[in-house]
């Protein structure tokens, strides 16, 4: 990169590519096309006519890449493309929400026909994790970084080097101007006092007056872009397993489970699961709404949990020694948090499993005793002392189903228990067999003399808990905070400058604000009130 400089008539050395002299603002004649100042009366002040790399060097590949990404037009197109794809991805559910046992290759076509098939084949069913969507977002990131540097550096230089004494052309070609003011010493003093009242910093040099305020507002866009970059960096970090844990565990009532993702260090016990619904009779204010609904409206899902920590490093298969860490009520919106991990209430299987089944044995309406089958222990035998009876469990099916080969168990979870057992008693002539299923006991032979009744069943709920640990959250928060600061800084404060330029006994006044010209005009009224300043002309007003 060549390091040529351009010397302005005011003596300031400007970098190559400068459009307006950094010191006096005089247009550098051969560079006016860069900002398109040739065709219009009002100078382009957006980047203060500073030398932008992208507009100056256009020869090498690096220059061209830089030039491409520094363009706002390119940035806007990237955002628009991302926006359109993001929206298209919502036409049908994403793969993770499809809620169907069908594989995606069949699901979308089956459910939505041809358009669904196209949706799937274009890869829209998994859009937000796809390499091309991530690339799009990354390109926006590159665009943000390059376009910010390309503008921030020259803008800062120009604002730092600006002099009080400006070139006449610069002042006269501002958007809002007032020419040929005949101002007395008094008028000038009033203006200066008013400027200070409006919190301007007022500088003077050889009769030239320069007032400026809120320059920091110009950095707003760069600050908010830094915030966005931090958020993008945080999302890159989040792609690595180390930075976040996302796991799931089902815990039955009364059960202790190792919390996945914690390396067998933490354990959770489900003391009780609570499921409540709204009752139309007791909740009077909701009667109107509750009358109409067919299904009960849930009020609360809650797991009363105790969290333990293993104090030893257990050898495989050995039971760890547990020490209580904390206990709490986990509800939706109220996770339990311990040592950086959070447990969220995520799923429920209300009374889906049998804890125990109590049965009573009778002969001729005389009780021979009762027994309780615990589904976790699943004992193989019961002794009923009072009648010297033995109950032998022949088969135990936690989740009973009937296949071609007869009864079998679908899983090891007692969701639909089936028990085949034999009763041997001195009171009976021979052993009798029974089958417990679906809360009833049926004799397995026609001539069974004894009777078995189900006296009680105890069911239990299982609670689904999500385990989370996310080390990137503070970084996201930081990014969001910086973004908000930057946006406010850029949008709610205005960088305003006023130049009062003496020329042949009269004064020309030029005014610049980076936005909100409406407010600027109101402020000008206050500043020139009680003086001989002519009314201001907006050289760019919409007619």
């Amino acid at each position: 990169m060549a390091n040529e400089t351009i010397r302005c008539e005011c003596g300031h050395e400007n970098k190559e590519g400068t459009v307006l002299c950094e010191a006096c603002g005089k247009p550098i004649s051969e560079n006016q096309h860069i900002d398109g100042n040739d065709q219009q009366n009002v100078l382009e002040m957006r980047y203060e006519g500073g030398a932008r790399r992208s507009q100056t060097y256009k020869r090498t590949v690096v220059d061209k890449v830089w030039g491409f990404f520094s363009s706002v037009k390119v940035g806007v197109w990237l955002i628009v493309i991302t926006l359109v794809f993001s929206a298209l991805g919502t036409i049908y559910p994403q793969e993770q929400f499809k809620n169907s046992p069908l594989p995606s290759s069949a699901f979308y076509e089956e459910e939505y026909g041809l358009t669904g098939k196209i949706f799937y084949q274009l890869g829209f069913h998994n859009m937000y994790d796809s390499w091309w969507y991530i690339t799009l977002v990354a390109l926006i990131g590159v665009s943000i970084i390059i376009s910010s540097i390309d503008r921030y550096v020259p803008l800062r230089r120009a604002l730092k080097n600006q002099k009080t004494k400006k070139n006449e052309i610069f002042v006269k070609r501002q958007r809002v101007v007032s020419f040929d003011n005949e101002l007395s010493e008094n008028d000038l003093n009033t203006v200066k006092t008013n400027l200070k009242k409006q919190r301007y910093k007022v500088h003077e040099e050889d009769g030239h007056i320069f007032a400026e305020k809120n320059r920091f507002s110009r950095w707003g866009p760069y600050v908010n872009h830094i915030g966005l970059i931090i958020i993008l960096i945080a999302s890159i970090f989040r792609m690595f397993e180390v930075m976040h844990i996302d796991d799931y565990v089902w815990v039955r009532e009364g059960e202790v489970q190792a919390i996945p993702g914690t390396g067998q260090e933490y354990y959770v016990e489900n003391n009780k699961f609570i499921y409540e619904v709204y009752d139309a009779d007791t909740e009077e204010r909701f009667t109107r709404a509750l009358e109409d609904v067919e299904n009960p409206v849930p009020k609360n899902f809650q797991t009363n949990a105790t969290i333990y920590r293993a104090t030893n490093d257990p050898i495989l298969g050995e039971k760890p020694e547990l020490e209580k860490v904390t206990e709490g009520e986990i509800r939706l919106n109220q996770p339990v948090i311990f040592d950086g991990y959070s447990l969220y209430q995520s799923g429920t299987q209300v009374e889906s499993e049998y804890n125990s089944i109590s049965m009573e044995l009778q002969l001729n309406n005389q009780s021979l005793g009762a027994f309780t089958f615990d589904t976790d222990e699943a004992p193989s035998e019961f002794k009923l002392e009072e009648s010297d009876t033995t109950i032998t469990i022949d088969n135990w099916y936690p989740e009973l189903e009937f296949t071609d080969e007869g009864p079998s168990s679908f899983s090891k979870y007692p969701r639909n228990p089936g028990i085949i057992f034999t009763v041997s008693s001195p009171e009976l002539e021979e052993d009798e067999r029974f089958f417990y299923l679906q809360e009833k006991v049926i004799p397995l032979a026609d001539n069974n003399q004894a009777n078995v009744n189900v006296s009680e069943v105890d069911r239990r709920s299982a609670s689904g808990l999500t385990v989370k640990k996310d080390n990137t959250l503070p970084l996201f928060g930081l990014g969001a905070g910086i973004f908000m600061i930057g946006v406010s800084q850029g949008l709610y404060w205005y960088h305003r400058r006023i130049w009062i330029h003496p020329k042949d006994g009269v004064y020309h006044i030029g005014v610049h604000t980076n936005k909100n010209w409406y407010g600027m005009n109101q402020e000008l009224d206050k500043i020139t009130k009680g003086t001989n300043v002519n009314s201001f002309v907006d050289q760019q007003e919409m007619k």
Partner: protein, 396 residues
Amino acid sequence: MDLYELSSLFLNITFFLYLIATAFFGLTLGKNRESNKKSKATRIAMTFTIIGFASQMTSYIFRWLQAGHIPVSNIFEYIYFFSMMLILAFVVIYFIYGIPALGLIALPIAIVIIGYGSMFPQEISPLVPSLQSNWLYVHVTTVALAQAILSISFIAGLLFLIKRVDQSQSSKETTFLELILFGVVSTIAYIVLSSSFGAMDYEATFTKELEEQTVDVTYSMPALFQPHDSELVTEGVFNSGIETPGWMQGADAGLKLNTLFLSLAFGGVLYGLLRLILKGRRISALLNEKFDKINPDVVDDIMYRAIAIGFPLFTLGGLIFASIWAQQAWGRFWGWDPKEVWALVTWLFYAVFLHLRLTRGWHGKKSAWLAVVGFAIIMFNLIVINLVIAGLHSYA
């Protein structure tokens, strides 16, 4: 009379107060801008607007007291709160800029929005567990306020376009402008149809087989399109015998198509009548003439200012607060739920608006058209996402 009924009563009063205010804003038309701001009609119109706002607020508070939680938990309550914020934003803008013509657009839009919202179930429903959080107060209200302020930019944009689009010949711009007006008329048509047939207790029930189950679909408007493969059960009601095409999914597909078609058709009739009354002239051409002297620079500034305030507020409510709540409720701050995606779409869109305006000088008409598109996105997110694309946010 319990609080719920009081609340409904005040909502009805509000509706009429806004109508009266609109009529008085109408009287300010055609005068020049200087005397307009101070005219008697403007003062009366603003008085009615503010009383209307107070009445709506009262109605809202009664509802809040009855429910025991802030009424922003279903689509009716959300639209209700949104319309209230829209009026509030307009009142604030009026006291800063003093443009009565804005009221002539803002109030009818607010009225149509309230009317539209009232078509949804209004019963006070209890909070399901996922909504039981203080973030409900913070997140939803901030989003509604932000969207209301962003809508002000649409209202200013519409005023700008009515004023600045050349009506001497028809062009793409005049066509699009008419389309916007047709959209508004069709929404009114929907409200009229829905409430008239609602008052008549009109019902036509169809049964259909869906995934090996028999489903009942009840129409509350005459069925021009009955559900695909369905049978009419109700006796003595109109039935065209035309079926909804099978590729439209879901049990309610026919119902939605029917309502949409009837609203657009009736909207078309109303629009056609208006054009007939105007002897074929475009409605926007008439409005252009009526909205006489308006300073386009100021309207343009309102358009920008609304977005300058609405955008950061939307970022805060729709993305930041939303993420914090999502983290707390579901353990993930972002999950690509359709509503979340559309919040991102909205945010990206207004980011584009700001970049084009601030760095590429898109002022005036270009800006105004963008403001219109922005409003369309907000309405899409509010209505279509909730009603058509189901996701975690479909509470209504």
